[in-house]
């Protein structure tokens, strides 16, 4: 317990000190994206890593959050601080309703159904151009503002995004090691045994699906208000796959792993700049290699190596 808290405090401290080490608006901007992707990866991980339910449509919830926020603040001039929770409620409510029929499906079928859902969202973003601006996007979305501070510079955005990301992380870490988190993992391992012990598996899965969508919506709203411009290409099928890759690389059921996966996949294209065309090949290769050789993900793989050499007693907790 103490150790977990210490780890999180240390991690937060490192994150908050990052602007001291990485200067320049380009780097700050990349780190802002790492934060947004970390939130999204954690959202998907709660569903996939803990409850064991796959989604290939999470980019859709991310996009929906961004568009609800974007349209409310531009077309209807609503305050962003009002638009964000409204978006979260809309997206969460929608996910809750879709959750009942969709989570009846298992495995491959759930994957295909969520994929279809994501594509329907994507097509809707493109086609309802009176609202969304269609393929050319929605621009001049207002920045967030607290008192006199407008979040319009890279450093300010960094603190805004990472403040929320750390809160989401803590939220997820707490959830993972709690009554509800255990029930989720129980459903994952043996749905029937969990039910016999009184866990309402169906409702729990739908709840976590909705929660996951709400986190995506929050990330989407923040994305819209920091970038001030959104277009459908950021919310397509490929991005859902990218999120899946982040979660798998970091490790299913590992919250810090989701950060690691998000960081790697956000930085990789930046490092490979120039070799731009290769990144799609690398994503595919990474997915295949990870599932085959390190199915527990990087964090667990690394800590297994660490134990092998430093020899500690076996670790069993979830972090």
């Amino acid at each position: 317990m103490k150790r977990d808290l210490l780890l999180f405090a240390g991690f937060s401290l490192l994150v908050m000190m990052a602007p001291q080490f990485f200067r320049g608006s380009y780097l700050m901007n990349v780190l802002v994206f790492v934060g947004i992707n970390t939130m999204l990866a954690i959202a998907l991980n709660l569903l996939l890593g803990y409850a064991g339910q796959i989604s290939l449509g999470h980019a859709g919830f991310f996009g929906l959050g961004a568009y609800v926020s974007g349209i409310m603040t531009t077309t209807f001039s609503v305050n962003p601080w009002v638009a964000m929770p409204v978006a979260a409620i809309v997206v969460g409510g929608l996910a809750f309703l879709i959750g009942f029929p969709i989570l009846k499906l298992k495995g491959h079928y759930l994957a295909m159904a969520t994929l279809g859902l994501g594509i329907i969202f994507y097509i809707t973003f493109n086609e309802t151009y009176e609202w969304t601006g269609g393929p050319s996007g929605l621009s001049e979305i207002p920045n967030l503002q607290v008192g006199g501070i407008i979040f319009n510079s890279d450093v300010k955005n960094f603190y805004l995004i990472w403040g929320v990301t750390l809160a989401v992380m803590l939220f997820a870490l707490n959830l993972a090691n709690s009554r509800v988190g255990r029930a989720l993992r129980a459903v994952h391992d043996s749905e029937i045994a969990a039910q016999v012990l009184g866990v309402n598996a169906r409702l729990l899965k739908v709840q976590i699906f909705a929660l996951s969508a709400i986190i995506c919506s929050l990330a989407g709203s923040l994305y819209a208000h920091t970038m001030t411009f959104i277009s459908p290409t950021s919310f397509g099928f490929n991005f859902s796959i990218e999120l899946l890759t982040m979660v798998v690389i970091g490790g299913l059921g590992s919250i810090y792993g989701s950060f690691l996966g998000a960081a790697l996949l956000t930085l990789l294209p930046e490092i490979l700049r120039g070799a731009n065309d290769y990144d799609i090949v690398i994503y595919g290769g990474l997915l295949v290699v990870m599932v085959m050789y390190m199915p527990g993900g990087l964090v667990r793989g690394i800590s297994a190596l660490y134990r092998k050499f430093v020899k500690q007693k076996p670790e069993t907790g979830h972090a």
């Binding site: 029929p101 969709i102 594509i119 329907i120 097509i123 799609i280 295949v288 199915p295």
Partner: protein, 293 residues
């Protein structure tokens, strides 16, 4: 006028529907033999078209020789995929299989992009492009090729599954994999066979449609998903129901695009997909309960 239009949309819908059917049968064959939904199925459609192009342009082969070469090359990729990604998997849980077939499909697509570039390529039609009038509508000779080849493939499929030892063994696997193993059927071999057959069928689908729609490294994604949709409508059968599923989907899409809005054309397939999965997961024509719910 209105009737001619509907006839026109229906005819072109039927030809795309035939393609969806071929891809859908590919999905079903692998699913029935292995329980895997192969997310990389669409990539074989893309490979079929692009390999044909390379055979024609780089190897300067005539069309009748280019097509079998392209099918063989795509099938080889299918074999490699099964050997290198599916078979070595240590924990073949549904989620791991989904991830690995998605990973494989991205990898194949990415390599195709490096080989053939991002451009859209055109492939010449098999026998000219003089339109043929049918009632008030017209179709191209390529449409006839599509119908004819689809019929032949479905016939060959039937012969294979019902009149050859290996086809019967494959059907046994689809009923009960363990029992099939116990009576001496080499189940792993059947898994490989299923990948061979469905990658070849995917490639054929890609080859016959390429002259109509052009082809590029990323055409496999949508075609693959539509094919899956056809298979779901047909209840994952590797026979007639999936063919009908494909045709229904093709026609609905074509009518929807023509009469309502072309922008939502792709959404139609996915709305049908979700409705079927929610309401009749056993497919439109199926009656048995199955484990997908």
């Amino acid at each position: 006028m209105q009737f001619d239009q509907i006839l026109q949309y229906t005819l072109s819908g039927l030809s795309t529907g035939a393609i969806y059917a071929l891809i859908g049968i590919g999905f079903s064959i692998i699913y029935n033999a292995t329980g895997i939904i192969n997310f990389a199925q669409g990539e074989f459609v893309m490979l079929g078209g692009l390999f044909t192009l390379s055979c024609l342009e780089f190897l300067k082969l005539p069309l009748w020789a280019a097509i079998p070469c392209a099918i063989a090359a795509s099938t080889l990729v299918g074999i490699l995929f099964e050997r290198l990604a599916i078979r070595p998997l240590k924990q073949p849980t549904p989620i791991n299989l989904v991830i690995i077939t998605i990973g494989g499909s991205i990898l194949i697509r990415g390599i195709a992009m490096l080989v053939w570039g991002k451009d859209t390529h055109s492939v010449p039609p098999f026998s000219g492009d003089t339109p043929i009038a049918i009632g008030g509508a017209t179709i191209l000779p390529q449409h006839l090729w599509i119908f004819a080849i689809t019929l032949i493939i479905i016939f060959l499929n039937k012969v294979y599954f019902y009149h050859t030892i290996s086809g019967k063994a494959m059907r046994a696997c689809s009923y009960n994999r363990r029992a099939a193993g116990l009576v001496g059927i080499d189940v792993r071999r059947m898994v490989l066979f299923s990948f061979i057959i469905s990658s070849a069928m995917g490639a054929v689908a890609g080859i016959i449609i390429a002259p109509l729609t052009m082809t590029a490294y990323d055409v496999g994604v949508m075609l693959g998903l539509k094919g899956f949709c056809a298979a779901i409508i047909g209840g994952m059968s590797s026979g007639l129901s999936t063919v009908i599923g494909g045709l229904i989907l093709g026609v609905l899409e074509s009518l929807g695009a023509g009469l309502i809005s072309s922008g939502y054309k792709d959404a139609i397939a996915f709305i049908i997909l979700l409705l079927i999965l929610f309401i009749r997961p056993q497919g439109l024509f199926g009656k048995s309960n199955s484990e997908r719910v």
